[in-house]
Amino acid sequence: MTSAAPGGTGPILEMLGISKRFGAVQALTDVDFSVHEGEVVALVGDNGAGKSTLIKTISGAGPADDGVISFAGEKVAIARPHDSQALGIATVYQDLALCDNLDVVANLFLGREGRRGAALDEVDMERRASELLRSLAAKIPSVRIPVASLSGGQRQTVAIARSLIGEPKLVILDEPTAALGVAQTAQVLDLIRRLRERGLAVIVISHNLAEVDEVADRIVVLRLGRNAGEFRVGEATQEDVVAAITGASAARRPSDPDTDGGA
């Protein structure tokens, strides 16, 4: 892993030696992680492996204790969610973080409302919200109903759509399909591909390895708060990944020259 050369193909986000401790628990130990533009990286691992904690160090919700984060080739400090947003990182949390009492438009634009003079530009926001949801083929009864009255899948759609409003360079999805039905899962995976086509970097946390294989370019495995392996999709079987997740085998890195078989 090397630092980005200006204008080159270096990673949009590079993290080196990230550590995070909660009281007596060492949640992350010396974790390295990177993602490039136009790349979908799946972050996998068992419960408690540190996936969400790592995500929170990027999103600013739980800053790292130690380690170096570089974004677009420049060393950055992410101390709060605002820093992360300002860099162009959008995070969709597992709990979606929607305000149930606000309508779809208000939720989509929360924190970056369009204004017209001193007042909110509701008309423009509603138009953009409708266009955005339509482009995602999202089925929302109305953009003017409170989010509380939407189904789980619709709420997930709103949450993902919301992450796109700020024109991010990197989108982080925390188990985006965990609560979804078949059709909506396909829709979300389709959406992830579309993000990649636009040249966005995408990090997906997932437990579903079939989905990961379908959508990701690269798989990063965490185990007990440490790097436990990294695979290029298509070069590794699901068994390899499962072994890395459970710790049944030594980590295998595609870049390691001493791993078996040049394939």
Binding site: S59, A61, P81, H82, Q85, T91, Y93, D95, A97, L98, C99, D100, N101, L102, A106, L110, G111, R112, E113, R115, A118, A119, L120, E122, V123, D124, E126, R127, S130, E131, L132, L133, R134, S135, L136, A137, K139, I140, P141, S142, V143, R144, I145, P146, A148, S149, L164, E167, R198
Partner: protein, 418 residues
């Protein structure tokens, strides 16, 4: 980023705004919408208006003078001061918090005004500004303690309730009561009537014109943006409704002493803060923090700033209400802001339909709730009832309002709208 590169498919059946389906049928559509909302636990202002009609009918049957122009004008005068305080309470309730210190703050600021204006001989305007700023400073302090140390707002403001009352006594010193001379300065604030008929009509017409224009402008922009629009009949219906209501009020006021200044101040605050809460980014953030604090924080909203500023606004409104009360009573005393000020201000906000659970409500709740409470107090005074009965009945009404709020919340949960 253009997220709309995909050609927009034909609007799916279920992507159509459901409101349109009912609004198209005019009055019948409103009735359908209304029934659906009630079933879904979105009662809005309905229980209050029904309650108000019941209260007015009961008092009218007991004492026909209750609905006389003179008494209704008195009622509006009586509710202006505490109603102004209640507007601030609505803002705090929207956050899902509470401010128990508003009564004491209103009393303290009234006394600060009295000491500066009467004892120290300050001119009216600077004295009022300083008195209001004292309220703002108190709110900043309480909001700071609440948000920075994570002390429940209930406790912070309970301490304020006692503490500011003490400061009020200290400010007054050994003077028990300071009187404002009638017919000048501070006293004019709450005792001025616009006896000329045209003032009331002008205010009403300007309000209706502004309302209609904003509706039309909104309609025009929605049309231009290709969004769903309300039928024109809808706009006419709403504007006409407002016009009839306001004209009725003005006719009533003009048949007595004219339009009272304190009413304009109170309603002005209601409209101003309604606009701020519904139409500005700041107001949106208040609702967001009250609805889901964590979501608001993750959206990059400075939650502490919102909290501190809302507590500051609440105490500022308490100061304004205290000044109006002192002006109407022509005095500031040790008992200013005491007794039922706090209870009535909170009760009005809740009775008016502001949820205690945060994130739901409107500053119009202060107006509606205050009308209910004011009507009860006024009517019972007319009937010559004793304080014991008055307190019990007022308490009962507050309890009923809170139960309605809790039931409505349950209704929303059952309909997936909580």
């Amino acid at each position: 980023m253009a997220v709309t590169t995909e050609p927009a498919a034909a609007l799916p059946e279920d992507a159509i705004d459901p409101r349109l389906l009912v609004r198209q049928h005019g009055l019948a559509g409103y009735w359908e919408l209304f029934k659906r909302r009630v079933r879904g636990g979105e009662l809005g202002a309905l229980p209050v208006i029904v309650g108000l009609l019941v209260i007015w009918t009961v008092f009218y049957l007991q004492e026909p003078r209750f609905l006389s122009a003179q008494n209704l004008t008195n009622l509006l005068l009586q509710i202006a001061a505490i109603g102004t305080i209640s507007v601030g309470i609505v803002l705090v309730l929207l956050l899902g918090e509470i401010d128990l210190s508003v009564g004491s703050v209103s009393g303290l600021c009234a006394c600060v005004l009295a000491v500066l204006n009467v004892k120290q001989g300050w001119p009216v305007l600077p004295a009022i500004v300083v008195a209001i700023l004292v309220g703002t400073a108190i709110g900043l302090f309480q909001g700071f303690v609440f948000s920075q140390f994570g002390v429940p707002s209930f406790v912070v403001t309970l301490a304020g309730l006692i503490g500011w009352q003490g400061l009020q006594l200290a400010v007054l010193g050994n003077t028990g009561t300071i009187n404002f001379p009638f017919g000048q300065g501070v006293a004019n604030l709450a005792n001025t009537f616009f006896a000329q008929d045209w003032v009331g009509y002008a205010v009403a017409l300007v309000a209706v014109a502004a309302y209609s224009l904003s509706l039309l402008n909104d309609q025009r922009r929605r049309l231009a943006a290709g969004l769903i629009t309300h039928p024109m009949s809808d706009l006419v219906l709403r504007s006409a409704g407002l016009l009839v209501l306001l004209l009725a009020v003005v006719v009533l006021l003009n048949s007595d002493r004219g339009t009272p200044l304190p009413l304009l101040i109170f309603v002005g605050f209601v409209i101003l803060f309604d606009w701020i809460t519904r139409r500005t980014r700041y107001g949106r953030y208040i609702f967001a923090v009250g609805g889901n604090t964590e979501a608001a924080r993750r959206a990059g909203i400075n939650v502490n700033l919102i909290r501190i500023s809302v507590f500051a606004l609440c105490s500022t409104m308490a100061a304004c209400g205290g000044i109006l009360a002192a002006s109407r009573g022509l005095a500031a005393s040790q008992s200013s802001g005491g007794s039922d000020t706090l209870l009535f201000a909170i009760a009005a906000a809740v009775i008016g339909g502001t949820s205690l659970f945060g994130g739901r409500g409107s500053t119009y709740a202060a107006l509606l709730g205050m009308l209910v409470i004011g009507s009860i107090a006024n009517g019972m005074d007319l009937l010559g009832l004793e304080s014991d009965i008055k307190f019990m009945i007022t308490g009962g009404v507050l309890l009923a309002a809170v139960v309605v709020d809790a039931l409505a919340r349950r209704g929303r949960t059952a309909h997936g709208r909580a």
